[in-house]
Subunit: 495 residues, 2 copies
């Protein structure tokens, strides 16, 4: 963590303050979050320097490939969504529907939807129900039912300020002290390890199978589980990120069944992080909820006690509205008393942002065929989807040509997570700087090209392997060429 | 906590689930938050029954006086704010500024502001810097400088999703384990006790002086502090809510100095919850930051090491946009290493809602004299201010006429917190229902009138005293009359 930080007074290191690095919450110190760590801070400094006209850098733009932030990289928001949101922010516009239509192209379904939402929430400036506005939870339930073919109950849904906030809530309830453990895939999105560190609970890592397109190896999970339990950890839950972050993997129904089987046998709560559910290039996304209901139908009794919490968000997919902070989680099979405690916990924070809740409603209930906004919506949605796939493939092709780089074929999410094999001299040079080799590589990449990626160590990786995660959100191919050129020079230098 | 909760399967009490009420995080169970507790849930049930046409209730509307939620109670948002926000949500509208002006009355300063904000945040759908967008932090710094006459540094500012989220962040860093303690006023807004319970830290209560308009009694604080320290608690911080919640008190510069003196002598971090800073009816608000800087100027050296975090929000004041979840805290005198840890902690949650950040910018940088939107802004702002004061006085007058009710004159915030003296028979009837007497009273009030208030026990009160907190946000006087009538019947019944 490097943050430039100045205060007007009190800069003396000896200042006898109450709080210092030695006495604050040690769990906060323990938590790591590389996605916004040193590299991201340095990239932001470069961006500011370029914006101020600094010509001394060897690149003319910074590419933030470290974080899934589509609209920072010029992805356009979907028109229908933003038209409705503008009316929710200023309902006075609804006074003149004709002018909205003729001058600004707002269709009737835009106006109607804004009215429907306002009738329920009254104002996006008012607190809603702490679980989220009832009408919006109903829409989410309808969406889940349509997606899975199984009913969902609005009372089991908790809207939240992005999935991150939902994960925080769930782990807060699940972890009861330093012996509580949660199985977390490695590599993983570091929100999980960071939150477990904050809660002073145990992260129980299980390795994904890189050679099987980063699939889930249930035997590896069993081994981790029994080792942790032998060591006295009360393992209570398993996190599955599907499609995977940072891996981009998409799990098969069979893989999902293996995890559910394990959860049923070993009494583990399943935390299914499904925020990339629409970012699937090959085949069809299967939700944990759907697979669980299928199994409950197929084998009556056997899966009745499985507890599942699944998360979704407006941040990813073709929506990409991460700055709006909207999302939800659904509880399946939870004890009602536990659910009541979750309600109390979220009520302390009052409610998720109401405009983000409304955006969630639009995401799960978009214009339907025959409705006036449908055509444009479809065109925009498919355009974004195709663009993402195209860029994923272009990046993948580039990686395949690079010496010492191996990459699994992109299946979904917004990321590629290639393995890099670096020459021994590069590893030594990294050691001399007291850095992990992948961190060293990523720093040099940033310094030389302005492209910011995240070292594999930020997500976890098998010993003696090196990776980095990059999004494939940035438009154009120039930045991919920058990586290719840098890599070949780097390899030449250290070989 | 009563929450109606059903699941499709697994309702058996014996179900061998992983999670049950006996093994979840005990700190979550410990936390209490009465503002959205049993009474609020029951009020919501009444609201739904009325909306569904239920004629069996003895009232025709529910008045949510339990929570400071102005726009739920028909407070209109300020036009300038919402016009700008509508453009941020749909920047396509900016393509036709003439139509915006002629048809919808958007002035040039509305359009200009939207463009300025968009130039910095790119899109409200993109993640911002985890501390908040730079341009917005600069505006907040300018606002603080203008308010206090002392400079503020954007790097010391952390934007957050409402002040609640900021309090959560700060207490998470300050509390390092079960021995850490924080001085909290009693009565208090229950966010503080709830968050300390979640962190398994000690709440060290100090009583406010009801007879001195709920002022701060520094001797009472010293007594609490030394008792707690003798008992082994490492007291690290003091919370001050000014203007007060639930008390409505407004602290004098002398009272503020006493707290800062204590903090300097006893090395306590001051957490100044100043979200009601514009809700002051008498005299002028003085911020803790201003008072601290004055003292630092007046007594060089003496106050240099005081650590202060002050919080503000878009939720209260004449803005009342609590559903938008915007706010900030400013760090003063904090160790840079501690501030860096705070940055890391907030970065795990990525960023506060960007549209809420933009609304904060509008709040701290409203139209100025001579600008096209100024006149309407002033009119709306003053109208809300006068309405709140008028309703506060009407409610205060009603309370003064009620038998067994005493109330301090309203000074600020959005609440009155009267003392009620109930007849012994009422106290016995409450005991027979296994309830606190104030809770019993508030439940009967809700059942008879539809008016939802919060019992004093939800905020803390001196032993053998009873209170309730009510907002004075609801329009009209009918609901005040309902309270008066209920109270007189209640007293007659139990006298």
């Amino acid at each position: 963590m490097t943050v430039t930080y100045t205060t007007r007074r009190s800069l003396s290191a000896k200042a006898p303050r109450c709080l210092h690095i030695g006495n604050i919450n040690p769990q906060v110190k323990e938590a790591k979050y590389a996605v916004r760590g040193e590299l991201a801070v340095k990239a932001e400094e470069y961006r500011v320097r370029l914006a101020q006209g600094d010509k001394s850098l060897p690149f003319d733009s910074v590419i933030f490939a470290n974080i899934g932030n589509p609209q920072q990289l010029d992805q356009k928001p979907i028109t229908f969504f933003r038209q409705v949101l503008s009316l929710l922010e200023n309902p006075e516009l609804l006074q003149k529907p004709d002018a909205l239509r003729t001058t600004f192209g707002y269709q009737q379904d835009v106006v109607d939807r804004a009215k429907t939402l306002l009738a329920d929430v009254q104002s996006v400036g008012a607190y809603s129900h702490s679980q989220g506005a009832p009408i919006i939870r109903q829409s989410v339930a309808n969406f889940i039912e349509e997606r899975d073919g199984y009913a969902a109950n609005p009372q089991d849904l908790f809207l939240c300020a992005g999935a991150s906030s939902g994960v925080n809530t769930l782990l807060n309830v699940i972890c009861d002290g330093p012996d509580a453990g949660v199985l977390v895939p490695i590599p993983q999105y570091p929100l999980y390890t960071a939150t477990l560190a904050l809660l002073n609970a145990q992260c129980v890592p299980y390795h994904l199978e890189e050679q099987r397109a980063w699939g889930t190896d249930v035997n590896a999970i069993r081994t981790s589980l029994s080792q942790a339990r032998s060591a006295g950890t009360d393992v209570r839950a398993i996190v599955v990120i599907n499609p995977g972050n940072p891996t981009g993997a998409s799990l098969s129904p069979a893989d999902i069944k293996s995890v559910i089987d394990l959860a049923a046998e070993e009494k583990l709560v399943v935390l299914a992080d499904e925020v990339y559910q629409t970012n699937v290039f090959e085949g069809e996304f299967t939700s944990f909820k759907k697979r669980l209901r299928q199994l409950q139908d197929e084998f009556p009794g056997k899966y009745d006690d499985v507890e599942l919490a699944s998360l979704h968000s407006v941040s990813k997919g073709m929506v990409g509205e991460c700055g709006q902070r909207g999302g939800y989680f659904e509880l399946v099979g939870f004890d009602p008393e536990v659910a009541a405690q979750i309600y109390k916990l979220v009520s302390i924070g009052l409610c998720p942002p109401v405009i983000g809740q409304c955006l969630l409603e639009l995401m799960v209930n978009p214009p339907k065929e025959g409705e006036p906004s449908y055509e444009l919506y479809q065109k925009e949605y498919n355009g974004i989807r195709q663009g993402l796939h195209k860029r994923a493939l272009a990046l993948y092709d580039a990686f395949r040509q690079m010496e010492g780089v191996e990459c699994q074929e992109p299946q979904g999410a917004m990321y590629l997570f290639p393995t890099i094999t670096l020459p021994p001299k590069a590893v030594e040079a990294a050691k001399a700087e007291n850095r992990a080799a992948d961190e060293f590589y990523c720093l040099r990449l940033l310094d030389a090209t302005g492209v910011c990626v995240v070292p594999g160590s930020g997500f976890g990786q098998k010993e003696n392997t090196l990776h980095f995660r990059t999004t494939f959100l940035a438009p154009g191919t120039d930045w991919v060429e920058r990586i290719v050129k840098f890599h070949s020079e780097f390899m030449a230098k250290y070989n």
